[in-house]
């Protein structure tokens, strides 16, 4: 516990927090109420208090979204792409980090330095040549092009590495003396002792790829493999412009994640915080 604050200090803190919370919340509330209104009233009332009162609320916009777009298809695409990247990424990067942190082998330091160096190359720095390569291979508009390049991730390896290096050596020693294979040690000893770092990496890469826009915009063509972030931008440009429908699309797009976030908030917060601790 921090030292007790004076009463006026506390009131001031609450006042500040509440004003800020209101500002943070306004766009979200507007989105929700707007999604329940007839299209033509969304724009005209957005600025007034009436904009936040969902009188005559109806789910018409929501049904419109389903008739005007293949929302479920986009949702499935997003879920499939993101979860594949996250799950495969956990496995691939954790295994690599384990080898870097706990095994002794030739070329380890050299290769680890390479990984550290690659950490500073964000996707944006390679998007153009990667796009050209994917185009040459004819892999545009596939799931593969949206998944495969992003499974291996230098930052994830680094996060795993930082965690594994801190695990006590004794954990493995006994198993190693029993003659257990490296893979077995990893799965039966390291993995169960590393849940926090797995949660962190999973959440960070989920946040990153769930919202990814640039890359899928570049490599998707039709709606078949289009993920939600590109889909909502495309929906916004699809005539006729109907704000109610767009906001309904937005609500449905964010609702599942928001729900997961609210349920596993502790993990989200820890996961994000973990990315910064090492600095």
């Amino acid at each position: 516990m921090r030292p007790q604050r004076s009463r006026p200090g506390m009131i001031l803190s609450y006042a500040l927090l509440s004003v800020l919370a209101l500002l943070f919340l306004t766009p979200v509330v507007m989105m929700l109420t707007g999604s329940l209104k007839p299209d033509e009233r969304v724009l005209t009332e957005a600025g007034t208090l009436a904009g936040f009162i969902p009188d005559q609320a109806s789910l018409q916009n929501y049904t419109d979204v389903f008739t005007r777009t293949d929302f479920l298809g986009f949702l499935i695409n997003s879920l499939f792409i993101t979860s594949t990247i996250v799950i495969c990424g956990l496995l691939v990067n954790a295994l690599a980090a384990y080898a870097f942190a706990r095994l002794h082998w030739r070329g380890r330091d050299l290769l680890f330095n390479l990984v550290l160096a690659l950490m500073i190359l964000p996707l944006e720095a390679i998007a153009i040549p990667l796009f050209y390569g994917v185009s040459l291979l004819g892999l545009r508009d596939t799931y593969l092009a949206q998944i495969l390049p992003f499974i291996a991730n230098a930052f994830s390896i680094y996060l795993f590495y930082s965690f594994f290096i801190g695990l006590p050596r004794e954990l493995e020693e006994a198993a190693r003396l029993d003659g257990a294979s490296t893979l077995r040690i990893f799965f039966s000893i390291i993995l169960p002792n590393s849940k926090p770092v797995f949660a962190s990496v999973a959440i960070l890469s989920f946040l990153m790829w769930w919202g990814a826009y640039l890359w899928p915009l570049m490599v998707t063509i039709g709606p078949e493999v289009r993920p939600l972030p590109v889909a909502i931008a495309a929906f916004y440009t699809l005539p006729p412009l109907q704000w109610g429908d767009i906001l309904a699309f937005g609500v449905m797009m964010v609702a599942p994640v928001l729900l997961v976030f609210l349920l596993f908030q502790r993990w989200f917060v820890r996961g994000v915080a973990a990315s910064g601790i090492k600095g």
């Binding site: 516990m1 921090r2 506390m10 803190s13 800020l20 919370a21 943070f24 919340l25 766009p27 979200v28 507007m30 707007g34 724009l43 005209t44 957005a46 600025g47 007034t48 295994l95 690599a96 080898a99 095994l103 002794h104 030739r106 380890r108 290769l111 390479l114 690659l118 190359l121 944006e124 720095a125 390679i126 998007a127 153009i128 040549p129 050209y132 390569g133 185009s135 495969l148 992003f150 291996a152 490296t182 893979l183 946040l207 769930w210 919202g211 826009y213 640039l214 570049m218 972030p229 909502i232 931008a233 928001l258 908030q265 917060v269 820890r270 994000v272 915080a273 910064g276 601790i277 600095g279």
Partner: protein, 300 residues
């Protein structure tokens, strides 16, 4: 470092474990990057039937004489210069407010963090509505209210002076929660005794913040500023959806120019040259950050 000799037998299994990740990184990060380095010196175009030529530094002289690209660099810098301090200060303020052990902290934290789970493309689309021009627009109305009727309705995203600040504002809204959580964790890692000792020595709250909290928070702060700076250089989604770089290049960015160069003009080589410049920028920022951290470590 322990001698490797006795444990040499781990090399095969290590390679097996590292293999998939390394192949992925080489194939999808290193190789494309090297490709960009090479093509930046050619005339490569998407779909051109003309032969490929080596053009030396032509693409670089072209982009550095291109007013749109120069404006993009300026915009990225402006974005970083404004957003990084404001967003960090806001996140720090929020973290400090939430670190007092007040009741209801968890609820506030949830609210401030919530925008982080909103994909940026959704945020951009929703904020187009918030910035709707005319007196009915939400932002226009809010400013009208705050200025007691003095505000003249503006078309934010079409206004050369307001478009970039408008994009900055929603970026701060979406990103502050992420930083707040990192800083909050940093605050909670500060040993309680330090603060208490300073308080016993008669240091005021402000002094304790300056001389105890801030120095202890240096690394998370630098980290948070680094990722925000790099995000500032990666700025794309909001621009592509809300303004397409306009009006009059007021919101264009290096990333936006890069993608436009390939997509509407098929000039792969020129975009590769931009990629190289972009990479150098990121490199400089990262290098500065590492230097800063190292200096601090040396001082300590």
């Amino acid at each position: 470092m322990r001698p490797v000799s006795r444990l040499n037998d781990q090399t095969p299994s290590a390679l097996l474990l590292v293999g998939p990740a390394l192949i992925g990184l080489l194939l999808f990060v290193l190789l494309p990057f090297l490709f960009a380095l090479l093509t930046a010196f050619t005339n490569l175009r998407l779909g051109s039937p003309l032969p490929l030529e080596f053009v030396e530094l032509k693409q670089f002289t072209r982009i550095f004489n291109d007013p749109a690209f120069l404006q993009a660099l300026v915009n990225n810098l402006l974005f970083a210069l404004v957003v990084v301090p404001i967003q960090t200060a806001l996140a720090l303020g929020l973290a400090l407010l939430l670190n007092q052990g007040l009741r209801g902290t968890a609820i506030y934290r949830t609210l401030f963090f919530m925008p982080v789970v909103f994909p940026m493309s959704l945020v951009a689309v929703v904020w187009i509505l918030i910035y709707a021009p005319g007196p009915n627009g939400m932002m226009n109305n809010l400013l009208d209210l705050l200025s007691f009727g003095q505000w003249q309705p503006r078309d934010f995203l079409r206004d050369p002076l307001l478009a970039l600040p408008a994009i900055m504002l929603l970026s701060i809204w979406q990103g502050a929660g992420f930083q707040m959580v990192i800083l909050l964790a940093g605050l909670q890692a500060i040993p309680q005794e330090l603060d208490e000792a300073a308080a016993l020595d008669g240091a005021g709250r402000w002094q304790r913040f300056l001389h105890v909290t801030l120095p202890q928070l240096r690394n998370p702060l630098i980290f948070v500023m680094l990722i925000t700076t790099i995000l500032a250089f990666r700025l794309f989604d909001q621009v592509q959806i809300m303004t397409r770089g306009g009006p009059n290049n007021a919101t264009t960015t290096v990333m936006y120019e890069m993608v436009e160069t390939v997509f509407t003009r098929q000039q792969v080589a020129r975009a590769s040259a931009m990629t190289v410049v972009f990479f150098l920028l990121v490199l400089v920022v990262t290098w500065l950050q590492r230097r800063l951290v190292r200096q601090i470590r040396e001082v300590e």
